[in-house]
């Protein structure tokens, strides 16, 4: 049959086009599958189990991102489909000319797309399983989670979801393709390859103005973002970050859309540069690509910035936490949130142990005060957008100096000595700007009122105290006699135990039994603290990074695909340049420059974003990052 033979020959001739199409679909299936299988990943399941969280919650948390992924993946398929349609219009024109009717051509196209799609789907699932398994290994290593027994997993849910999603896309794509065959006149199909899109030229001054505006927007975003992170107590829920995100997106978009044109139009003023080799051609080529892909470039750039920031932050923060955690709990075991009366019972349990002579113990009780966090800083330094954990309306608790110093001594730190009428303030380790504000107020003679007497602040100590998790609380250290005037703050007594020769599982069990008996108290230990911290990090970082990397991969593949398609499409231009006497070397260099520049610009801008964010976090943590 002549049609079949024709189709086969055409297919062979456009093998490269088909390969591009096919691998794009494979890649997109892989991305979609990996994203949706996150909640079934063994590492994730294990993390959720340890944290005691239902792993389905991940799907809920990622609701928004999943729309984004679906959108990008659909765009990827549509884009590559458009490419194949564009490349094959000529061929369809020939079929029509040969007398094949439009319905038949459309049907052929539809079946072809479906066939390629089905094979790509299967291959995509397999690569998705491999990819997400490898990602899990990477994260398990990075976050120091124990490896699960199984690395690779077939997530039935995601396989089905991917199947349904792609069926829908392919039906859409098939209908679109058939439309585009029947909508076009024969003549326009036959000359399809020759027409190239009209190139829009922009007004020079508009470019300059918009370029300056977009840089200003970016700078403004940096400024507010930096202040929101570094200058008050960092609160991730601060609504100002929505504004910052919007400014970053708008600014980056503007930079790609006009900023680059602005830079190039300046470069074009320099004759020595402009008239050298293929420079002008290369610049205009880059500009054309950047301009027509601004949205994707912006998304890739922002995602890249998020990934760089979170990875650097994660790595640095982990070592920071390790240091702090080492000094947080002086003894192996602690029971928090007890009533002062409970102490006797717990001491009895501890003393009943055969190792009793080696027992070391500490007790510390917090007392209620009228002082709130906002009293500790100057009025102009209060910020209504501060963290809810550290709301300025919280009242501060107080501890007696001798109990406090006993804990410090157990940690091997110098005691704090307070004169008559002087107190100290203990802040957490993780809010340096807040500590600085208190120091500033103290330097200006801050005085506080406790049970009718007035005290000045002699010293501000910034360190985690007892538990890292709650270490950002601030606490007043007051002379012992002042404590006598205050009321205990509910269940606010903490007990700490350890045997001089190390840990003892029997003590651990007995203490837990006692907690059950009195029906109060929160158990923790050095080991527990470490595990808790890790859970928090893992739970925050793992899904976040996983999603960011997948999204970046999605954006990256859109950009890569466009590069590839663009190069294939402009083969005619390169032949033209060769005819004009351009050497192969010059042409290759131009292509290389286009590709590297195209990828380098979003990366460079992303690095700039991350540097600003990281330097703000560094300020927040007092230069300890």
């Amino acid at each position: 049959m002549i049609y079949l033979k024709l189709a086969y020959r055409n297919m062979r001739r456009s093998l490269r086009d088909y390969a591009i199409y096919f691998f794009t679909i494979v890649l997109s299936v892989m991305i979609f599958y990996s994203f949706n299988s996150l909640k079934d990943q063994p590492v994730m399941v294990e993390v959720c189990r340890q944290a005691g969280i239902e792993s389905n919650i991940i799907a809920v948390l990622l609701g928004f991102a999943s729309f984004f992924v679906a959108f990008i993946v659909a765009a990827l398929v549509l884009y590559s489909n458009n490419f194949i349609i564009r490349r094959r219009k000529r061929e369809w024109g020939t079929y029509l000319l040969l007398g094949m009717n439009q319905g038949a051509v459309a049907r052929m196209l539809f079946l072809e797309t479906l066939g390629v799609g089905a094979i790509a789907y299967l291959l995509g699932i397999v690569t998705g399983v491999l990819f997400s398994g490898l990602m899990s290994v990477l994260f398990a290593t990075l976050l120091e989670v124990a490896f699960p027994a199984r690395i690779f997993t077939f997530s039935l849910y995601s396989i089905l979801l991917t199947g349904v999603f792609y069926t829908l896309i392919f039906i859409g794509v098939g209908i679109m393709g058939s439309f585009s065959v029947s909508r076009h006149s024969l003549a326009s199909l036959l000359v399809a390859n020759r027409t190239n899109e009209a190139y829009k030229a922009r007004n020079h001054w508009v470019t300059v103005m918009l370029g300056i505006v977009s840089l200003a927007v970016l700078g403004f975003g940096y400024w507010i973002g930096y202040r929101a992170i570094a200058n008050s107590n960092f609160n991730p829920m601060n609504p100002v970050f929505i504004l910052v995100a919007a400014l970053m997106v708008v600014g980056s978009f503007g930079f790609f859309y006009v900023g680059l044109g602005f830079v190039f139009s300046i470069l074009c003023r320099i004759d020595r540069f402009r008239w050298k080799g293929l420079n002008t051609f290369t610049m205009q080529q880059i500009l054309k690509k950047v301009n027509s892909n601004t949205l994707v470039l912006t998304a890739a750039n922002i995602l890249l910035a998020m990934i760089i920031t979170s990875v650097v932050f994660l790595v640095a923060f982990q070592s920071l936490l390790k240091q702090n955690q080492a000094g947080a709990l002086p003894y192996a075991y602690a029971v928090l949130y007890l009533e002062p009366d409970d102490v006797v019972g717990f001491d009895a349990v501890a003393n009943a142990n055969p190792l009793n002579p080696l027992l070391k113990k500490l007790a510390i009780t917090r007392y209620l005060t009228e002082v709130s966090s906002s009293d500790l800083v100057l009025p102009q330094d209060t910020d209504k957008n501060d963290s809810p954990i550290l709301s300025f309306n919280d009242s501060c608790s107080a501890v007696g100096m001798s109990e406090y110093n006993a804990v410090r001594q157990a940690k091997g730190l110098n005691p704090v000595n307070l004169d008559e009428g002087v107190i100290a303030i203990q802040t957490g380790a993780l809010s340096q700007p807040f500590t600085e504000k208190i120091q500033k107020a103290a330097g200006q003679g801050l005085s506080l009122n406790l049970a009718g007497s007035s005290y000045t602040v002699g010293q501000v100590v910034s360190e985690p105290f007892v538990s890292v998790v709650s270490s950002s609380m601030c606490m007043l250290v007051v002379p012992d006699e002042a404590v006598a005037e205050l009321l205990p703050d509910g269940a606010a007594t903490t007990l700490m135990y350890e045997y001089a020769n190390g840990q003892d599982p029997i003590l651990e069990e007995n203490l837990l039994n006692e907690i059950n008996r009195v029906g109060r108290g929160y158990w923790t230990s050095k080991q527990e603290e470490a595990a808790n911290l890790k859970m928090i990090q893992v739970f925050i970082m793992f899904p976040g990074l996983f999603v960011e990397i997948i999204l970046l991969l999605a954006c990256g593949s859109v950009l890569g695909l466009q590069q590839l398609i663009e190069t294939v499409d402009s083969a005619r231009h390169y032949q033209g340049l060769y005819n004009l006497g351009a050497e192969d070397r010059q042409i290759h260099r131009s292509i290389f420059q286009q590709v590297t520049f195209y990828f380098f610009v979003p990366v460079a801008l992303a690095i700039l974003h991350s540097l600003v964010a990281l330097s703000a976090f560094n300020k927040l943590l007092g230069g300890r990052l």
Binding site: R194, N196, E197, A198, Y199, A201, D271, R272, R274, W275, K276, G277, L278, N279, T280, F281, Q284, Q285, L287, K288, H573, G576, L577, Y578, N579, L580, G581, A582, E583, D584, Q586
Partner: protein, 254 residues
């Protein structure tokens, strides 16, 4: 007259294994410096093939092509590029201008490729824009100008590097008759006042009548030749061309 192009016994065979098709069949041709040569012939007679070989974009299967005393059939790819840059200019039917560059940048491209200094480029540019009357459209993009202007820009690009010879494959093919006339007059002026050798493939007898010699190709061979006599009016030359074309058509019919 000093010879600039000397082709002897050029053969070009397309296809492979028993499936040969000779597009050029032992063709010989000499072109003198300063000639305006037209190449005519029915479709498939090998005109584009001949032009591409002269342009060093393609190679012949047998035979010798000497341009300015150099045998282009025996040059390496790198040398060919340099040779093309220094000796040849091209005008294509579909202009082949880069749509992202302004006409100014398009016209100057061969010079920037050859790494000329900005001062030289500027000087050359102002001289060719004068010849082609492109002053007002230099900073426009190809999509913003007419077909005739595009083709004149392409012609300007072809001569900006002072080539020994300009090759044009149906340069008026996509133009309406008045734009075609402007282009042809400019080519004629280029040939007469600047002494540039031009080799133009065309189907159109009107276009051919601007030349001073015409060779007729058929089945890869030159079957006839016409030379415009000194002072011969273009109209008379045109009639002469038409009669040769008609004669060839009759032979075809037999």
């Amino acid at each position: 007259m000093e010879s600039i192009l000397q082709i002897s016994d050029l053969t070009k065979v397309y296809g492979f294994r028993g499936n040969h098709y000779p597009a050029l069949n032992g063709l010989s041709l000499g072109v003198g410096k300063g000639e305006f040569l037209g190449v005519m012939g029915p479709s498939g007679s090998g005109k584009t093939t001949l032009l591409n070989i002269i342009a060093t974009i393609d190679r012949g299967s047998r035979g010798v092509v000497m341009i300015n005393g150099q045998d282009t059939q025996r040059m390496r790819r790198g040398d060919l590029t340099r040779f093309r840059r220094e000796h040849l200019g091209f005008i294509f039917q579909d202009y082949n201008l880069l749509d992202t560059l302004t006409l100014r940048e398009n016209i100057c491209l061969p010079l920037s490729i050859a790494n000329q200094t900005p001062a030289e480029i500027k000087a050359r540019l102002s001289s060719v824009t004068q010849t082609f009357g492109l002053h007002d459209v230099l900073d426009k993009f190809p999509a913003q100008v007419s077909g005739g202007q595009k083709q004149r820009a392409a012609a300007a690009r072809a001569i900006i590097s002072n080539p020994t010879m300009v090759l044009a494959d149906e340069p008026t093919g996509a133009l309406d008759s008045s734009s075609a006339k402007v282009l042809l007059q400019t080519l004629e002026k280029m040939n007469q006042s600047l002494g540039i050798t031009i080799l133009m493939v065309t189907h159109d007898a009107t276009a051919a009548s601007y030349c001073n010699r015409i060779v007729f190709l058929k089945d890869g061979r030159i079957i006839s030749e016409l030379r415009r006599a000194a002072q011969q009016p273009r109209r008379a030359f045109f009639d002469q061309i038409l009669s040769v074309v008609a004669l060839m058509g009759e032979k075809e019919a037999e």
